[in-house]
């Protein structure tokens, strides 16, 4: 089901079947030309599949934005080891709720994307890792997988193509860090999700120490349309160097929050005003986070002229990220926002790397004190300094994810920190305390 009304400004590629009655069933999927892209790909050479994905300019939709075709080409196809396809459905980046909608409404499109990746790299087994909180999606996925086996779209000699593929749904049990690819692979092997040092990258040493293609749910969702309509058509939907659409989660202070499929390069102002219905309660925009809470924050001025794509955001020293857009109005305390974001990263840090473990914990303590009105002027610089000393000093990006928004909030909203220096709780709201701190 859909949790929000669609917008006429959407471009429906991944979500083209949304709204179809019983869209998750294999019968309706097959009726809508489902699995035809797999059949087409089964007649192509593996290199041709990868070339088509490269032409599409599809970039990883989990947050990092690495070119997908290139990632697939790193898999040593001739290796005697088995190869695996792993789907990252651990969606945990605060602000992000798109993979949930995709899997719930069209699980067979994900299976088809995985099968095509399997053809491309000669993999014959795959795992869909879904965060534990999404239990109902495990059921949706298991039902879809069972249907696909029953109708001969999974298993041995799929539809007479000679291609075998087995697919499994795998549940996590609550860990943000497992969204990071190497931590996810550890978790899939029944261990703590401690990140691995790289290289070697998962393309060479991944699941079960074998070559592995690991992509986000949304990335696999894009693959059937790329094969069906051609990479060039997908590329043309986006901007140079980044093709297609992006599942975009509008969250926070807009009138119509929701998950929308928008072309890459969609203007931010238009997205807020026309897709999201503008800032709620007639207020003004104060801050904008483009793709999950780990991205550096933009001010209202910086959003002018920005578009939702990798380069536009990189030009503003932030990231497109996961598509979890967080829109913050002018009545919000940015110290409180920074504190809540830091509480999350401190909670999720696994403790493996000291700069992350200690940095997030100290930042949480300092920001808690600060928001309560007990901060000092030196604390403002201290927050920035601790965060900067975490950058690039950890195995996985969790340390960076905690540091980046913090640095940007201190730099861009320093006056709000100074406003907390009067020895009283937060001046921006009557109830100044944050629960549970």
């Amino acid at each position: 089901m859909l949790f929000n009304e669609p917008s006429p400004l959407e471009t429906r590629v991944l979500t083209r079947r949304f709204g179809t009655p019983d869209s998750a069933s294999i019968d309706t999927y097959l009726k809508d030309d489902g699995y035809q892209a797999f059949l087409k790909a089964s007649k192509m050479k593996p290199e041709e599949i990868i070339e088509e994905v490269k032409t599409s300019n599809l970039r990883g939709r989990g947050g990092a934005g690495f070119p997908t075709g290139m990632k697939w080409s790193f898999v040593p196809r001739t290796s005697p080891k088995p190869k695996y396809i792993v789907v990252n459905g651990d969606e945990s980046e605060p602000g992000t709720c798109k993979d949930r909608v995709l899997i719930e409404n069209d699980p067979h499109q994900l299976i088809e994307g995985v099968l095509i990746a399997g053809l491309a790299v000669d993999a014959h087994a795959g795992y869909i890792y879904i965060r534990g909180e999404y239990r109902y999606l495990i059921e949706v996925m298991e039902k879809a997988i069972a249907e696909a086996y029953e109708k001969g779209w999974l298993g041995k000699n799929i539809q007479g193509t000679g291609f075998d593929f087995d697919l499994y749904a795998h549940s996590g049990a609550g860990a943000y860090e497992c969204g990071e690819e190497s931590a996810l692979l550890e978790s899939l092997e029944g261990k703590r999700g401690i990140p691995r040092i790289r290289p070697p990258f998962p393309a060479v040493v991944g699941a079960f120490q074998c070559p592995t293609v690991l992509n986000n749910v949304e990335t696999f969702f894009a693959v059937p349309s790329i094969i069906r309509d051609g990479g060039a058509a997908f590329a043309a939907l986006g901007v140079p160097k980044a093709g297609g659409t992006k599942m975009t989660c509008l969250t926070g202070h807009v009138n119509r929050p929701g998950v929308y499929e928008l072309k890459l390069g969609f203007p931010v102002k238009q997205m807020i005003e026309e897709v999201g219905g503008g800032i709620w309660k007639g207020r003004k925009l104060k801050a904008f986070i483009p793709g999950g809470s780990s991205c550096p924050v933009l001010t209202a001025e910086e959003v002018e002229g920005a578009t939702m794509d990798y380069d536009s955001m990189a030009g503003r020293k932030t990231m497109l990220g996961s598509g979890g857009v967080i829109i913050i109005d002018d009545h919000t305390c940015m110290v409180k926002a920074a504190l809540r974001i830091m509480r999350f990263y401190a909670h999720e840090s696994c403790g493996w790397c000291i700069p992350c473990r200690e940095g997030t914990t100290w930042l949480r303590k300092i920001l808690t004190r600060f928001h309560a009105g007990d901060g000092t002027r030196q604390d403002i610089n201290l927050v920035g300094d601790i965060a900067k000393n975490m950058l690039g000093r950890t195995f996985c990006p969790l340390g960076d994810a905690a540091a980046m928004p913090t640095i940007s909030i201190v730099e861009k909203f320093r006056h709000e920190f100074e406003d907390h220096l009067n020895g009283k709780p937060c001046p921006y709201e009557q109830q100044g305390s944050l629960v549970g701190v």
Binding site: F3, N4, P82, E91, S92, E93, P94, G95, T96, C97, D99, R100, A125, R131, G132, E133, Y134, R135, Y136, Y168, H170, S171, G172, A173, G174, A175, Y176, S187, L188, E189, G190, K191, R192, G193, F208, C249, L250, T251, G252, H253, P257, G258, V259, S293, G324, I326, I328, T332, K336, A337, R340, I341, F344, H347, E348, C350, Q431, L434, V435, G436
Partner: protein
């Protein structure tokens, strides 16, 4: 230790889902599914799963302590989880959590005296566009007002 036939079936399927010699991969899902049935990760459960997978109880304990959904002490029959992470916070998720504390008379990871309802302030659960969100066990509730939360909790009390 014995489990329901449905859980035994799930375990058997899980143990066949991974490459030969990689049965340990089933550990995290097995723990979560078992917890749903047993109520918490007990010492007996740890020993049982360790035996079935062929690892030590210490290895199981080491892994389980990493995952926030796995817990050693029982939660209520109905586990109410309120998200206060950033997107929910912007829709007063923190105030909703405080309201839930008052309504139930318990705090973070506490259980009501009758053992029926427990409360947890949780991190992002992936319902950010429909904030503030809560989960009761695995069921999502979106755009929850304090009044709706009262209604949900009253409904749970009646179900007991």
């Amino acid at each position: 230790m014995t489990f329901s036939p449905a859980l035994e079936e799930r375990f058997a399927k899980l143990l066949k889902s991974y490459p030969p010699g990689r049965q340990r991969s089933a550990l995290v899902p097995m723990l979560l599914y078992a917890q749903d049935e047993v109520g918490s990760i007990t010492d007996e459960l740890i020993d049982e799963i360790a035996t079935r997978i062929g690892i030590t109880a210490l290895q199981v304990t080491e892994v389980m302590s990493y995952y926030s959904m796995l817990h050693r002490t029982p939660m209520g029959k109905y586990h109410v989880q309120v998200c206060t992470n950033i997107s929910c916070l912007l829709h007063d998720g923190d105030k909703l959590y405080e309201h839930a504390c008052r309504k139930l008379g318990i705090g973070h990871k506490e259980v009501t005296a009758d053992g029926q309802i427990s409360l947890e302030e949780v991190e992002c659960m992936g319902a950010c566009s429909w904030a503030p969100a809560i989960q009761v066990n695995y069921d999502f509730h979106h755009k929850v007002t304090p009044e709706q939360l009262d209604g949900i909790i009253d409904g749970l009390r009646k179900k007991q």
